[in-house]
Each structure stands twice: as structure tokens, then as C-alpha cells.
């Protein structure tokens, strides 16, 4: 008995050695460790947030200017002699006048308009003035005239884009310092641009056509847009949803509700997880071999792209759908079975509706990942210059060549004209906007329909 007193239990009357209110060394050490751990966590979050912020900041500062565009507005007299030498107003004969003929017409018209407005063109020859007009404008005018030959002989007001470097000057990308060493533009041209802005010939506005135009060649960066890429991405996402959703749901319901638990289902389970981790380029190789070379599907088409991306997304969707089905409590199934429902009825009347929000969320997140994929598309010919819009979805448009949003980012980033850098960043902004919208839909679905037990 006396031992116990000696072994640490304080004798009555002696002051307590430790208390909850005063910290001893061990306690301080443990508290310090906790504080340190919290600091690490906050530092990790701060670091990742700052990296994210820097990334978004550079993309936005680079890319926002892609949504503005300088335009030239000036009157053009459509000289019938030049545009319809035969004089028959027959569009087929008029088509023999190529865009080069229209380029000369536009150049002359701009030079004449500057002279008529009394704008000094000192130090700038006619060829340098022609450099102001985008090389895409003549093609637009030609299309307009061929569609309506009655325009010949009239004077119409043409509003077309200014060329990439003039546009860059209004955006601050091209400055007098860079123009001094740049052989593609001179300081005198910039002075003239200033005078044209004053006279209201050169204006700048929001560039809707960045979202609607197809891609353009290296010589006319200002005409390039995301139209074909947006349609291609939309077709692919639609097809991927159609391909993967039924298959993914069927597979996960079977595996969760019906499949016996044995070595085979274990093997399948492991393989699904493995497939979700296979690098996406592997699916591209598979797609090239199976869908194009073996099945003979057309190259560069959004159908093949969608098939490849479906294969890639399917494991992710199966995993998400299985998790959602597993989250439905067994009591629901027991109750349904208890009142005499068959297994099938239990699944389709009770389990699946309750799991649906989870399945949809998982699917949308899987689609969002798929939206950003370029690597598999590289091998099936979708990383390409495609200028014709695909046809409508019911006219076989999914078999037409198309590109996708991330592809456009990639191909613009490797072009030589500096104007494509801003357009590449602009395409990233559009892609991010799509991803944000998809994620918001996923969150809203989850909030509105998810049931918690």
C-alpha cells in the first residue's frame, strides 16, 4: 500500500504536479506539432491556390484580347467591269474572278477612301495601305457578290477585319518599339492607323466571330475562330454521353446488384480500375487500329473521336456509377424485396432512381475530363486544319471532319504569327468556361436531387 503512494500519486497536501490549465512540456510539444501541421496544410493550400491564380491570370491577360477585334469600314464601288468581265451577271462566270481580283478592288477602294477623307498617307505606299485589310475580307466580299450579282455597280459599305498586326497595335501587342524592328509593319503604318482611328475608319469591338469562325491559315490570324472546334467538341460530348451512359449504367448495375462475388468479378473489377488509369494516347492508338483501319470509319470525324473518348471515359463512369449505387442503403432494397418486388423491380424502381443524381454527377465530371483530351485525337486525324463546318447532326455531320477545343489550343500555340498566342489563350478561356458550366451543372444536380441517409 505504501508503494502506491510512493509511485507518483501525490501525498495529500502536496500541490498537483500537472493540471489541465497549465501546460507541461509534453503537452506543449503536442500542441506545437498540431499547430505546425495546420500551418503545413494552409501553406499547401496557399501554394496551390497561388499557382492556380498565376495560371489563370496569365491565361486571362493573354487571352482576353482575343475577344476584341479591329475592323475597317469603308465604301467600295463594285466595279462591274472588274468583277464580271463577261457582263452576263452569271455567278458561274463571275466565279472566275478569284479573291485576288477582289483583293485589288478592296485595296484601291481603301486608298481612294483615305484620299477622299483627306487623311495623310505620308511615308506609306499603296501596298502598305493594302496590308491593313485582312486577307479574309476579299473572300467574304466575293461570297457576298456571288450570292447577289445585283450588287454589281453599286457602292456598298464594307466592314471587314483589320490585319493581325494593326489589330495588335490597337490591343497594345504591337508597339512603336517593336514596329521599328519588325519588317512586317512600319512606324508610319502605325501613325496612319492612329489617324484612321480618329477618322472612325478603324474601330475596335467585341469579336463574336472568334466563337463562330472556322480556323484560318497563318496569314490571317484575325479571321480564325473556334466555330468548327466548338461544334466538334459538342458532337463528341453528345456521342460520348450516348455511348457511355447506357453501357456504364448497365455494367455497374450488373456488377453491383446481380453479379456473383467470385474470382472473375474480382478480376473484372481490378481491370476496370486499371483501365481508368491507362494513358489516353493508348486509346488513340487503339482507335486508329480498330475504328479507322479495321472498321473503315472516316478519318478526322467526330464519330471516331467520340468512340475513342468513350472507351477512355467508360471506366471512370462505371466506377462513379457503382459508387452511387453502393451508396443506396440496403434497407431500401430489403423493403422492396419484402413487399414482394422482384430483384429487377427493386433495382429499376428504387435503387436506380435514388442513385441517379450520383451517376449523373460522375458522368458529367467524366465528360468534363474527356472534353479536355487532345492526345487520343492526335492519332485519329482530328488535330488538323479544318475549315468547313460539319453538317447538322442528322445529316451525317458526325462523319464530317472536325476538330475539338483543346486541339485548337494546341495547333494555335505552334503557329508562327504572334497573334496566335492570344488566340490560343482565348481558346483556353472558352474551354475553361465550358468546364465550369459542366461542373456547375454537376453540382446543381447533386444539390437538388441527392438524398442523404
Amino acid at each position: 500500500m505504501s508503494d502506491a503512494t510512493a509511485n507518483g500519486i501525490p501525498a495529500s497536501g502536496a500541490p498537483a504536479k500537472s493540471s489541465l490549465l497549465t501546460q507541461d512540456a509534453l503537452m506543449r510539444k503536442r500542441n506545437a506539432a498540431e499547430a505546425r501541421f495546420k500551418a503545413y496544410g494552409i501553406a499547401a493550400i496557399a501554394l496551390s491556390l497561388s499557382v492556380l491564380f498565376i495560371m489563370l491570370w496569365t491565361i486571362f491577360t493573354d487571352g482576353v484580347s482575343a475577344f476584341r477585334q479591329a475592323s475597317l469600314t469603308f465604301p467600295v464601288t463594285l466595279d462591274a467591269e472588274r468583277l464580271d468581265p463577261e457582263g452576263n451577271r452569271n455567278p458561274e462566270e463571275m466565279a472566275r474572278v478569284t479573291t485576288i481580283g477582289y483583293t485589288n478592288l478592296l485595296n484601291d477602294a481603301l486608298v481612294a477612301h483615305l484620299a477622299a477623307e483627306g487623311i495623310s498617307t505620308e511615308g506609306v505606299d499603296d501596298g502598305d495601305i493594302a496590308d491593313f485589310i485582312s486577307r479574309g475580307t476579299p473572300a467574304e466580299l466575293r461570297d457576298q457578290v456571288l450570292a447577289d450579282p445585283a450588287l454589281l455597280g453599286q457602292t456598298i459599305t464594307v466592314s471587314g477585319f483589320a490585319s493581325g498586326r494593326i489589330d495588335g497595335y490597337l490591343k497594345g501587342r504591337v508597339t512603336r518599339e517593336t514596329a521599328a524592328v519588325d519588317t512586317n509593319i512600319s512606324v508610319e503604318q502605325l501613325d496612319l492607323a492612329d489617324r484612321m482611328v480618329e477618322a472612325g475608319i478603324l474601330t475596335s469591338g467585341f469579336n463574336w466571330r472568334f466563337l463562330t469562325n472556322p480556323d484560318a491559315s497563318d496569314q490571317r490570324p484575325e479571321m480564325s475562330g473556334l466555330g468548327v472546334a466548338i461544334i466538334g467538341s459538342a458532337y463528341m460530348m453528345l456521342l460520348v454521353a450516348i455511348f457511355t451512359l447506357p453501357m456504364g449504367i448497365a455494367a455497374s448495375i450488373y456488377l453491383e446488384e446481380f453479379a456473383p462475388k467470385n474470382r472473375w468479378t474480382d478480376l473484372i473489377e481490378v481491370n476496370i480500375s486499371n483501365l481508368a488509369a491507362v494513358p489516353s494516347i493508348v486509346y488513340g492508338i487503339l482507335g486508329l487500329a480498330v475504328f479507322i483501319n479495321f472498321a473503315g470509319f472516316p478519318q478526322s470525324s467526330s464519330l471516331v473521336g467520340a468512340l475513342v473518348i468513350s472507351l477512355m471515359t467508360l471506366p471512370t463512369i462505371i466506377i462513379a456509377a457503382r459508387a452511387a449505387i453502393r451508396a443506396v442503403p440496403p434497407s431500401i432494397r430489403d423493403a422492396a424485396l419484402g413487399v414482394g418486388a422482384s430483384k429487377m423491380q427493386t433495382v429499376f424502381h428504387h435503387v436506380l432512381p435514388l442513385a441517379a443524381p450520383g451517376i449523373l454527377t460522375g458522368t458529367i465530371l467524366g465528360l468534363a475530363t474527356a472534353l479536355g483530351e487532345t492526345a487520343p485525337l492526335l492519332l485519329i486525324g482530328m488535330v488538323a486544319f479544318v475549315q468547313n463546318y460539319p453538317a447538322g447532326p442528322f445529316d451525317g455531320g458526325m462523319l464530317d471532319p472536325a476538330t475539338a477545343l483543346p486541339v485548337q489550343v494546341y495547333s494555335w500555340a505552334s503557329r508562327s504569327d504572334p497573334a496566335f498566342i492570344e488566340r490560343s489563350a482565348g481558346a483556353i478561356i472558352v474551354l475553361l468556361a465550358f468546364l465550369v458550366v459542366m461542373n456547375i451543372i454537376a453540382i446543381v444536380l447533386r444539390r437538388r436531387f441527392e438524398r442523404r441517409w
Binding site: A179, R220, F385, Q387, G396
Partner: protein
Amino acid sequence: MTHLKLGASALAISAIAATGSFAQTRDQVQITGSSTVLPYATIVAEAFGENFDFPTPVVEGGGSGAGRAKMCEGVGPNTVDIANSSSRISQKDLDTCAANGVTEVMEVRFGYDGIVFASAVNGPEFAFTPSDIYNALAETVVKDGALVANPHTQWAEFNPALPAQDILVLSPGTKHGTREVYDTRVILEGCEATGAMAAFMAAGQDEDAAEESCLKLRTDGRNVDIDGDYTETLARLDADTNAIGVFGLSFYQNNTDKLRVATMNGVVPSTESIATGEYPISRPLYFYVKMAHLDVIPGLQEYVEFFVSDEMAGPNGPLAQYGLVSDPELAATQEMVRNRVAMGPLN
């Protein structure tokens, strides 16, 4: 059961969509290959789509070798029609082609591409000769009459006319079509001019072995192979202003505000000096047409003729404005294209 029905019908619809209506022809020309030729091909494709009633051809990049391999996969609408190439087709490619039934190929040379050395625009000026590049980059150089492992760290060490700046060259990677002309027209020339070639042969190597020794570049980080696009080279040059980058002439012409071009043997590279042959480093650009597709794919013949027409590939055409050196023998090429002459065996 509605869910099941919905799923089943969706599957059925997609199956029909996938297998249903495959036209066995293709409406638009499909082109793939060299990323050097890509900008020229897109310029032509765009103008072709504007001025003809055919759809705009689809143009892919990806590299000369990959493009030729793709063209040689076989005949049929799901294979490409044209392979762009920044180097000449090899016998190996032709053999693959023949084995896959692509027996007749038309070789079209449409112009030349200059290779330029350029540094950051704020840096000093450089005037190179092939010997300078060899002395800077080779693994083994001749110093005081003897072959030694390259000791140079600054340009001025072997040529006092060059600035005292650390050596760093961003060379085209071995996967680049540019690398071949870089090796033969710069490194080998320099090897011969500095006497290293003779020294290798004096050391008992035969000519092939000596050439191989010439082409060995130093691996201590002063020569960096860039396998990506010229945009990557430009980005590296922004990051390290001491570097000298190797670019295509057209890329340089689009970025004259960021790059200062170096002369070679005292000649400033331009489309004119390359056309006259004064500027020594250039290479021909080709595209190869699968002749079995000429009457099958609508617009293919017209596209090829349009590409080599004076309007496009001539000295005043848009391709020349972009940096292509027009081919002096363009008229012969136009004639060949009109008559659909298949290429003979390689010589």
C-alpha cells in the same frame, strides 16, 4: 422499365448511326505530314476552298516521316491523299508504299525553305560561317593542329570577330526534317573547312567514319536539341538570351521583332538570297500525291495544280510572302502535274 427501354433505344440509335450510312467516297482532300510544310499547305487549302467549288482540304501536321508512313498505308478513302514532306522520300518508304499497293506516287517539289540562325533581338550581332558553328558545337575540334575534345566556352575563343558570349545553340532535334540539311550544309561543311575532316581521315578513319565523327555534337549542354516546333525554340530563346536558335526563314520573317538574324558567310538570309543560291542553307520542300486517288477524290487534281500555280507558289504569290523560296523550275513542275507523271526510282 422506362430506364431500360431508354438505354436500349439509345444504344440501338447509336449503333445505326455508327454503322448505317457510310459513303465509300470522301468529299474533301486529306493531307498530312511535315509541320514545316503545314503553314504553306493551309494557306493553299484556304485559298482553294475560297475560289473553287470543292470543300477546303483537311490538313494535318505531325512530321514528314509520319506523314509519308500514313500515305503508304494503302489505297482507299480512309487513307490520306497527300503527304507533305520537308525531306525527300526514302527508298524504305517507297518499298512500304509498294507493299501496300500504293504503286504510283507523284513527287511535287514546290519551293525551298531557308534555315536561319537567329539570336534575341537585344543581343549582339552574329556573322557566322559553317566553321564557327562546327567549332562551337562539335564533340571533337581541331585546335593547334591536333584533334581535341571541344574546349570552347565562348564564341570569341575561336573567332575574335564574334562576341565574347557563352556558347549555347538550340539545334533542331534529330526528329526534325531540318536536321538533315543542318547536318550536311552546316556541320559537315564546317568539319571540312576547319580541317577536322582531314584530321579524322589522317587518324585512320575512312570517309564514312570521318563523316560520322564530324556529326557527333558535344553533349555538355552547350548544344540543345529541340524536338518541338519553332515556337518552343523561341520560348527557350526568350528564357536564355545568350542562346542562338535555328529557325525556318518563314518563322523568322513572322517574328522579326523578337529575333536578330545572323549572316552566314556574310550573306543575309532572304527569299532572294536563297533563290540565287548565295545563302547556302536551304532545303527543298515536297509533297507526295497518291496517284490512285486522283480521279477518286474530288478536287485532288485541282488542288495539286492550284498549289504549284504561279498564283500561289510563284515568286509574288502568298507562299513567297510567307517565306517560301519559289522554285525556279516551277514551270516544269506545273507541266508534270498536268500530265500526271509518277515519280521514277530514287537516284
